[in-house]
C-alpha cells in the first residue's frame, strides 16, 4: 500500500511537467529512461518490420537499396544505444538505491544530466532521417564505408550522436559505480549485494573502461570527415583496420554491457519464483567478473577475416572459447536454482526461463565462431544475424521483459495482467524463434547479411518468408504489451509492499510505489536475502518515528540546461561553429551555477 508516501512530508513539488524536467529523483529518472527507451524500442521495431517486409519475397520492392542501408544501420543503433542500454539504465536507476538500501544515488543531479544527454544524443541520431539521410554504413561504421569519400552526412550524425550517448552512459556509469561501492545500507557487504546489483556494477565498469576507446575512434573518424586527416584513409597512409580494432575494443565489452543487466534480472526473478536462494551465489558473481575481464581480451574475433596473422588468431580464438566457461557456469547455476524449487510460473518467470534456453542457443552459436575456419565461412552471413539476435532478443530483451513484469508492481503499485502477459510471452517466444531460427539455415545456405534483396531461385525464399511472418508475430506481442500496460495503469494502485509475497531483496520492504525518500528507516542487512532472513528470524523492521523529516535533494534545472548545452554542441558540429560556441558557453554557465547551487 502506498501509505508511507502519504504521511511523510517531503520537499519539492511533485506534479506537472516542470517537476519532471527538474527532477533529481532516481525513480522518476528511471521512469523517464524507461518510457523514452520503450518508444525508441518500438521505433527500432518498425525499422525491423520494414527490413523484414522488404526481404519477405525475392526481388522485394518495398524500399530502395539506399534506404535499406539506412534502415539496418539505424535498426542496430536504435536497439543497442536507444533501447536496450537505456532500458537497462531504467532498471539501474529504479533499483540500485532500492536494492542496496539507499535513499538516492550518489550524485542525483549527474543522474538527471545523464538522462538529458541521452535524450539529446537519441534525438540527434534519429533526426538524421530528416536532415539528409540516416547513417548507412552499419552500426560498426567500418571505414572506408564511413569515411568522407563514401558516406554522406548521415555518418556525421552517427559520430555526434554516439559521442553524446557515450557521454551520457559514462556519467551514469560513474554515478552507479560510486553509488554501489559507497552507499550500501549497513550490513550490506559486497558479497551480500543482490546479483542484479553486481551485474550493474560490472556493466558500469565495462562502460567506464570501454567507452573512452570508442570516443577516440569517433573523434578520429570525425577528424577524417571534417578536418581532412587520414587516420583511416588508406590512400594517404591511414589504416582502415585501425578503426575496426578501436571499434571492437569497445564493441565487444558492449555486448556484455547489453546482456549482463538481463543476467542480473533473471538472477533475481528465478530464485524468487523458485522460492529458493540463488544456487552458487559467489560462482555467479565471479563468473560475471570473469566475463567482464575476458570481454576486453576477445575483440579481434570480430576480425578473423581481416588477415590478423596466425598467432593473433590463435590467441583470440582461445580467449573467446575461454569466455564460454563462466557463461556456462551461470547457466548451470540458474538451472540449479530452479532444481527442486517450488516454482511459481508467473509471466516474469516465463520470460526468465526462456532467457536460459534462448541465450544458450545464442551462446553456443557464438562459441562456434571462436573457431577461425568456421568464422571465416560464416562471416557476414545470416548465421551471424541469427546468433546475435538469439543473444540480444532471446537474452537481453526477454530478460528485460522479465524485469518489467517482475518489478512493475513495485514501480507503479499495479500488476500487469498475467493473462495478457502470457499471451505476449508466447507471441514473443514463437515469433522470435520463427524469425531468427530460420536465419541459421539462410546463413549456412550462403545468404549474406545487409543485402537489400535477393534473386528468386537461390533457395532463400521460403525461410525468408517464415522469418518475416515471425517478425510480425513479435510486433503483435508488443501491441499486446502496450494494451496490457494501458489497462493496468487504469486500475488503482493497490500492490502491497511485498507485491509477490515472495520478495527477498530490500526493494520489497518499502511501499509500492516507494516514497520519494525510498525508506522511512534505512534497513540493516544480515544476509544475502535480507527479507527472507528477517522473516525466518522474526525480525520486524524498526517503525518510523512519528515526526521524522527526511531531507531530500531539491529539484534542479541545471542538468536540463547542461543537457541543452550538449545538444547545441552537437548541433553546432553538424551545422555552424557559432552554435558550438553557444553550446560551450551554456555548458560552462551551467557548470558554474550547478556548483554554486545550494543542495541543502
Amino acid at each position: 500500500m502506498a501509505t508511507a508516501a502519504g504521511t511523510m512530508p517531503v520537499v519539492g513539488s511533485h506534479t506537472g511537467l516542470w517537476s519532471w524536467l527538474t527532477t533529481v529523483d532516481h525513480k522518476r529518472i528511471g521512469t523517464l529512461y524507461g518510457v523514452t527507451a520503450m518508444l525508441f524500442f518500438m521505433m527500432g521495431g518498425v525499422e525491423a518490420l520494414l527490413i523484414r517486409t522488404q526481404l519477405a519475397v525475392p526481388n522485394g520492392t518495398v524500399v530502395e537499396a539506399q534506404l535499406f542501408n539506412q534502415l539496418f544501420t539505424m535498426h542496430a543503433l536504435t536497439m543497442i544505444f536507444l533501447a536496450i542500454m537505456p532500458l537497462g539504465a531504467a532498471f539501474f536507476n529504479w533499483f540500485v538505491p532500492l536494492m542496496i538500501g539507499a535513499r538516492d544515488v550518489a550524485f542525483p543531479r549527474l543522474n538527471a544530466l545523464s538522462y538529458w544527454v541521452f535524450l539529446a544524443g537519441g534525438l540527434l541520431l534519429v533526426s538524421s532521417f530528416v536532415f539528409g539521410g540516416a547513417p548507412d554504413a552499419g552500426w560498426f561504421a567500418y571505414t572506408p564505408l564511413s569515411d568522407k569519400n563514401h558516406a554522406g552526412s548521415g555518418m556525421d550524425f552517427y559520430v555526434i550522436g554516439l559521442l553524446a550517448l557515450g557521454l551520457s552512459s559514462l556519467i551514469a556509469a560513474l554515478n552507479f559505480a560510486v553509488t554501489i561501492i559507497n552507499m550500501r545500507a549497513p550490513g550490506m557487504t559486497m558479497m551480500r549485494l543482490p546479483v542484479f546489483i553486481w551485474m550493474t556494477l560490472i556493466v558500469a565498469f565495462l562502460l567506464i573502461l570501454s567507452l573512452p576507446v570508442l570516443t577516440v575512434a569517433l573523434i578520429e573518424l570525425l577528424f577524417d570527415r571534417k578536418f581532412e586527416t587520414n587516420f583511416f584513409i588508406a590512400d594517404n597512409g591511414g589504416n582502415p583496420i585501425l578503426w575496426q580494432h578501436l571499434f571492437w575494443v569497445f564493441g565487444h565489452p558492449e555486448v556484455y554491457i547489453l546482456i549482463l543487466p538481463a543476467f542480473g534480472i533473471i538472477s533475481e526473478v528465478l530464485p524468487v519464483f523458485s522460492r529458493k536462494p540463488l544456487f552458487g551465489y559467489s560462482a555467479v558473481v565471479f563468473a560475471g567478473i570473469s566475463i567482464a575481464v575476458l570481454g576486453f581480451a576477445v575483440w579481434s574475433h570480430h576480425m578473423f577475416t581481416t588477415g590478423l596473422g596466425t598467432v593473433p588468431q590463435i590467441v583470440f580464438s582461445a580467449s573467446t572459447m575461454a569466455i564460454a566457461v563462466p557463461t556456462g557456469v551461470k547457466i548451470f547455476n540458474w538451472l540449479g536454482t530452479m532444481f527442486g524449487g517450488s516454482i511459481r510460473f508467473t509471466t516474469a518467470m516465463y520470460f526468465a526461463v526462456s532467457v536460459i534456453a534462448l541465450f544458450t542457443i545464442g551462446g553456443i552459436t557464438g562459441v562456434m565462431h571462436a573457431v577461425v575456419p568456421v568464422d571465416t565461412q560464416q562471416q557476414d552471413t545470416y548465421f551471424i544475424v541469427a546468433h546475435l539476435h538469439y543473444v540480444l532478443f532471446g537474452g537481453a530483451i526477454m530478460g528485460i521483459f522479465s524485469g518489467i513484469y517482475y518489478w512493475f508492481p513495485k514501480m507503479t503499485g499495479r500488476f500487469l495482467g498475467e493473462g495478457l502477459g502470457k499471451v505476449q510471452f508466447w507471441l514473443f517466444f514463437v515469433g522470435m524463434n520463427l524469425t531468427f531460427f530460420p536465419m541459421h539455415f539462410l546463413g549456412v545456405a550462403g545468404m549474406p547479411r545487409r543485402i537489400y534483396t535477393y534473386d528468386d531461385g537461390l533457395g532463400w525464399g521460403m525461410w525468408n518468408m517464415v522469418a518475416s511472418i515471425g517478425s510480425y508475430i513479435i510486433a503483435l506481442g508488443m501491441l499486446v504489451f502496450v494494451v496490457n500496460f494501458l489497462l493496468s495503469m487504469r486500475k488503482p494502485a493497490t500492490a502491497a509492499n511485498d507485491a509477490w509475497g515472495l520478495g527477498a531483496t530490500l526493494e520489497w520492504s518499502t511501499s509500492s510505489p516507494p516514497p520519494e525518500h525510498d525508506f522511512d528507516v534505512i534497513p540493516v542487512v544480515h544476509d544475502r536475502d535480507p527479507l527472507w532472513y528477517n522473516r525466518d528470524h522474526g525480525i520486524t523492521p524498526e517503525a518510523p518515528p512519528a515526526h521524522q523529516h527526511i531531507h531530500m535533494p531539491p529539484p534542479s534545472y541545471y542538468p536540463l540546461v547542461m543537457g541543452g548545452g550538449v545538444l547545441l554542441l552537437g548541433v553546432g558540429v553538424l551545422s555552424h561553429l557559432a552554435v558550438t560556441a553557444l553550446g560551450v558557453v551554456i555548458i560552462i554557465y551551467a557548470a558554474w551555477a550547478w556548483t554554486l547551487e545550494p543542495t541543502d
Binding site: A102, P108, I208, L209, P212, V213, N239, L246, D518, W592
Partner: protein, 198 residues
C-alpha cells in the same frame, strides 16, 4: 543518506568520499582515453608518406622547458592542497594562482609549438605523424585548459566572504587529482613522442 550526497558526505560504506571515488574512477577511464590516442600515435609511427617527419621538426629543448613548467605546476598544486587542508587560505590562494599561471604558460608553449610546426609545413592533414601528433597533444592541451578553468574558478570562489566553505581542502584536493593526472599523462607523452629516438 541521500541528502548527504550533496552536502558534505559524512558517511559511506567504504569510508571514502563519494566525489573522490568518482574522480579516481574517472581517471581510470581517462587512462583508456589517452591510451587509445597514444596507441594510434605508435601505430602510425614511421608510416608518414611525406615530411616533415618527427626528427626534423620536434624541438626537444623547447618542449623540455614546457615539461618542466608542467612538472612545477604539479608541485605548486600539491602546495595549494596542503594550504587548503591545513587551514591556510593565503597559502592556498598563492599556490593556486601559481598553478593557474604555470598552466597558462604551458598552454602558451603549446600554441607556440603548434604555430611553429604550421610554419614548417606540418598540420593535421600533412601526414600520419601530423594527424596523430596534433590530436594527441591537442586533447592533452584541452585537458590542461579545462584544468585551468577549474582551478581559476576555485581561486575566484575562494575570494568570496565564505571562501571555499568548510570543505575547502576537499575541493582543492579533488581538483588537484585531475591536475596531477594531466601532468602524468604529459610525462608519458614527453617520453614516447619526444625523447624516444624517432
Amino acid at each position: 543518506m541521500a541528502a548527504a550526497a550533496h552536502g558534505p558526505t559524512h558517511h559511506s560504506s567504504t569510508g571514502i568520499d563519494n566525489r573522490k571515488l568518482l574522480m579516481w574512477i574517472f581517471l581510470a577511464s581517462e587512462c583508456l582515453f589517452f591510451g587509445s590516442l597514444i596507441s594510434t600515435y605508435l601505430i602510425f609511427k614511421g608510416q608518414s608518406l611525406v615530411g616533415p617527419f618527427p626528427d626534423e621538426i620536434l624541438d626537444i629543448p623547447v618542449t623540455s622547458a614546457s615539461t618542466f613548467v608542467l612538472l612545477m605546476s604539479s608541485l605548486s598544486m600539491v602546495l595549494a592542497v596542503y594550504g587548503a587542508e591545513h587551514g591556510r587560505p593565503r597559502m592556498m590562494k598563492l599556490w593556486l594562482l601559481v598553478t593557474v599561471l604555470l598552466g597558462l604558460i604551458f598552454l602558451g608553449f603549446q600554441v607556440y609549438e603548434f604555430r611553429t610546426f604550421g610554419h614548417e609545413g606540418l598540420n593535421l592533414t600533412t601526414n600520419q605523424f601530423g594527424a596523430s601528433f596534433f590530436v594527441l597533444t591537442g586533447f592533452h592541451g584541452t585537458h590542461v585548459g579545462v584544468g585551468v578553468l577549474i582551478l581559476a574558478s576555485l581561486l575566484l570562489a575562494s575570494f568570496r566572504r565564505s571562501g571555499l566553505g568548510p570543505e575547502a581542502g576537499f575541493h582543492v584536493e579533488v581538483a588537484g587529482l585531475y591536475w596531477h593526472f594531466v601532468d602524468i599523462v604529459w610525462i608519458v607523452i614527453f617520453t614516447v613522442l619526444y625523447l624516444i629516438p624517432q
